[in-house]
Symmetry: C2
Subunit: 548 residues, 2 copies
């Protein structure tokens, strides 16, 4: 059987756009003589639809799109993903379904069994799990049609507890080998570890059941989540014969009878994949929201330099504006480094001193602040003046403000709420500071874009005289290791200390993380890069006793 | 049997505090000769623990607390709620359990079957559902021990779809009448409709099974969620014999053999219950976070007046500071109304003009803004200067900034991000503007606290000359009705128009709601008052096509 793998970029709720795209690809698959074209999970409505699913209109629009796609399925079969009404009188009202469209109608339907409800996933919020197991037939082939997590029945519980399996049911096992081919339609988000894990899970399934496997993932970014594609065809021995591109739309027609190994695309190094993920996340945010122009503050530091560089590569240099907003505490190199960067990038930039605004606040607050010493309040005023200037520029000219915080500072709260935490999107909020340095060097791999001085000088917020990050924080290479253990691996404080980190440093770091939940609560959306990003995938109580 | 109902206020993660409180109440129950003392759902660790549950330390601390409580259970039995490790090799690693403690040990255990995973609930994120059904025996009584949602098996799917039941299993039905008494331990949050619905669900269960029912809810606010108590004892005919207080800790020992009707506390009117809920929400936020002082901006408008009044009633007048921050667009009455309010409340207040800061921004931005007209950018600068002054005061003196936005403006985005949207907690963010007026009048019921002029004058943001809310928004009585239908009832646009609202007004309102998801994404936590609050219970995609 010839199967077309359509790895596409969908927009949530864009029924006209998604449907037209799917119609075009059914056509393309026909032209290439495919018997079957496979689209990804919830492709009709876009993934993740979240609470749109509670809306009757949304489901009716989905049904209308399905009918439109079914109509063109003549002489070809299509598998599409969509939320489908549960006809039973009891249970959640929707299934997360894979629909088999042929001869103008829905010929068959399989519902998702394993509903991920952890980290960024909320599927049990909306869907009733499937409890009926059957293979479906297409062109004489018996197919085990599954949806994403359905192949992850063997995964361990993801936490600091003893090894155990997350799921009690295995959809493929329940089919008792009554199939010739496994098809999996997915919406599997990127993280730096996910790509290898995912491939291994798929290979394991092909091997365990000794059946070829067709896997179709979407490639798209929707707010925080980045889906990276890498759809594939694996033979019954577990060899990957075809692999589609990462972070790009792609399309291929495979023949299930193929035995020859096809050319696989070269895969990205870790730092390249971080870059590509951010690029897609930023690009889709702008495209899907209808924005074209961005503004950001250029401090002369590494975070804003990396954000500006990626923004230029995604949006074009004509569409990025940098504001340099020196204060009396700014060192000369802050300005010269930022100007050098702006020149290297060829972007519009303005130097707007905050001195006058700072004096205005000083004199305005004099009656209430008189007799107090310079402190956090005065530091934050500077950051908030900058935040207000950037938002003023954004409001005036329609440029979207890019947030430049990194994950290390978001973790320990080394940032000013309503100041440098402002922005429509945080593109480095899931990238640790040490990784930001790696990114900077990688961006400079061919020639210097980010001034060398920006990379080598000690990081500083410059909100008071001669301030350095290292005055208040552990060195970033230590800090980041502790953060990974505490946030991503959920290790206990004792475990981290036992691993060789200094007790006071560990306790101070954890305390900073816990005390700053309230800041992160009001953070812009953060592009998810790691297995545990701040945002929808990490839900910590704000009012609580964080004890250790 | 004599059963003590312990309706208490727990803090998430505060094992020492929660355990001590429970030990005290076991003692108290013993003194009053109770055979059994019942605590609420997840009482040992506090509800909702959220992702703390993924932390091994957190579960070990829970286990330690359980042992400490079991130790004092000599001559008395206690039922406590706690997350308990799932010993099976497959499935989520925790159960949401009710533990029967007696003679120093865990004598029995029942796990929760129905795991709410909708609106603000995420229980399937953490817990494996129970599949074994048995009644337990205490002092010769066969008891159907259930946890909160377990009695809600009959509830409809909550949405705009055709009537159907949310759950496929009924825990009580599965017990085949093999019980004498129903006990339900709960963590059921307040909303304006919940109290009546909940009582009816409990009465229906007592009636259906013709068994008496003991219900113990917590009373506590944890960040957004407010739990209002109202624990009760219902006889086998469905008559409520005892009802504990709403929004307060309470304790009573009932005798299951009682047939006489006891005194029920008078229940609150709707507006009183909104007030009481906000009071508990605000009070617990401060107490549990260790804060005592608040600051807020006083604009002379009704929202800030209501927030200031409630803050004074919760925190005391010595702990509330108001900043009046007039601009050149402020009318005289803004100042006089705000000063009158501050005097009526007896709070410290400062008049800090923003004129100088506005001029500083004007001249600072002149090089880039020259030749442009006064618009949204300039309006927002004023709001952001005020937000910065309030945060400066907060940072300098340790006062927590109270946000004063209401639900109507949060819904349509009639507010400035990083300006008047600033704050540690939004106490009116789930209260529609028309309800804010009701609250103001109710607060003035005995004598004028909120100046009459604040209540009767047309609402205005005063960010440009002679601005009125009604310039950009429909009248609030129309707007609020449309918002309730769209946000809470999830009605389609067509339905709302069919209900008699003007098409252009409906479409404009819905468009404003949809376009402002990005602002709400960065909102402070909002005390939940209605069945559908902005925040954790409403998860809309930010990047999406919102079509109609």
């Amino acid at each position: 059987m010839k199967i077309a793998l359509a790895q596409l970029n969908y927009k949530v709720g864009d029924f006209d756009g998604n449907t037209q795209k799917m119609l075009d690809y059914v056509q393309k698959a026909k032209q290439e003589n495919a018997d079957l074209v496979v689209f990804s999970e919830l492709s009709v409505c876009g993934y993740p639809p979240l609470d749109f699913l509670e809306n009757r209109d949304f489901i009716q629009r989905t049904e209308k799109s399905i009918r439109a796609i079914a109509k063109v399925c003549q002489g070809i079969t299509a598998i599409v993903g969509a939320p489908v009404l549960n006809p039973n009188a009891k249970g959640k009202k929707l299934f997360n379904s894979a629909l088999v469209l042929r001869n103008g109608k829905i010929e068959n339907k399989v519902n998702k069994t394993l509903l991920p409800t952890y980290d960024i996933f909320d599927e049990y919020r909306y869907f009733e799990p499937n409890t009926e197991f059957k293979s479906i037939e297409i062109d004489g082939y018996k197919i085990a049609l599954t949806i994403c997590e359905d192949l992850w029945d063997d995964q361990p519980v993801e936490n600091s507890f003893a090894q155990s399996k997350l799921y009690t049911v295995s959809p493929l096992q329940r089919l008792n080998d009554q199939f010739d081919l496994i098809i999996n339609i997915a919406a599997s988000p990127f993280s730096t570890l996910q790509s290898d894990t995912r491939k291994q899970v798929l290979i394991n399934n092909a091997k365990r059941y000794q059946k070829p496997l067709v896997y179709v993932n979407q490639t798209a970014a929707n707010t925080e989540l980045i889906f990276d594609g890498q759809s594939m065809f694996i033979d019954a021995k577990g060899t990957v014969l075809y692999q589609l591109k990462q972070f790009e739309e792609d399309f291929v027609v495979i023949d299930t009878k193929t035995e020859q190994q096809a050319q696989l695309p070269c895969s990205f190094t870790e730092i390249e994949s971080v870059y590509q993920a951010i690029k897609l996340g930023l690009s889709d945010y702008f495209k899907k929201m209808g924005f074209s122009k961005a503004v950001l503050g250029l401090s002369g530091g590494i975070d804003s330099a990396v954000v500006a560089t990626i923004a230029v590569q995604v949006l074009g240099k004509k569409n990025v504006v940098g504001l340099l907003m020196p204060s009396k505490f700014s060192s000369d190199h802050s300005i010269t480094d930022a100007v050098d960067l702006a020149k290297n990038l060829g972007i519009e930039h303005h130097i707007i001193s905050i001195k006058e605004a700072v004096s205005a606040f000083d004199s305005t607050l004099m009656p209430v602040f008189d007799g107090t010493e310079f402190g956090i309040a005065e530091e934050n005023i500077q950051a908030r003046i900058r935040g207000t200037l950037l938002m003023a520029y954004s409001n005036k000219f329609g440029h979207i403000l890019l947030n430049t915080s990194n994950k290390s500072e978001a973790a320990v709260g080394y940032s000013t709420l309503y100041g440098d935490m402002n922005g429509g999107l945080s593109i480095l909020g899931d990238v640790y500071k040490t990784k930001v340095f790696e990114l900077a060097n990688w961006l400079n791999r061919d020639h210097e874009i980010i001034p060398r001085n920006t990379i080598v000088k000690p990081p500083s917020a410059e909100l008071r005289p001669d301030q350095k990050d290292s005055d208040s924080l552990p060195d970033y290479d230590i800090l980041d290791q502790i953060l990974v253990r505490y946030i991503e691996k959920k290790e206990s404080i004792q475990n981290i200390i036992d691993a060789g980190f200094e007790e006071t440093t560990v306790k101070r770091t954890v305390l900073m993380v816990n005390r700053n939940e309230y800041k992160r609560f009001q953070s812009p959306p953060i592009l998810r890069i790691t297995g545990k990003a701040f945002g929808m995938g990490r839900r910590m109580p704000l009012v609580a006793k964080y004890d250790f």
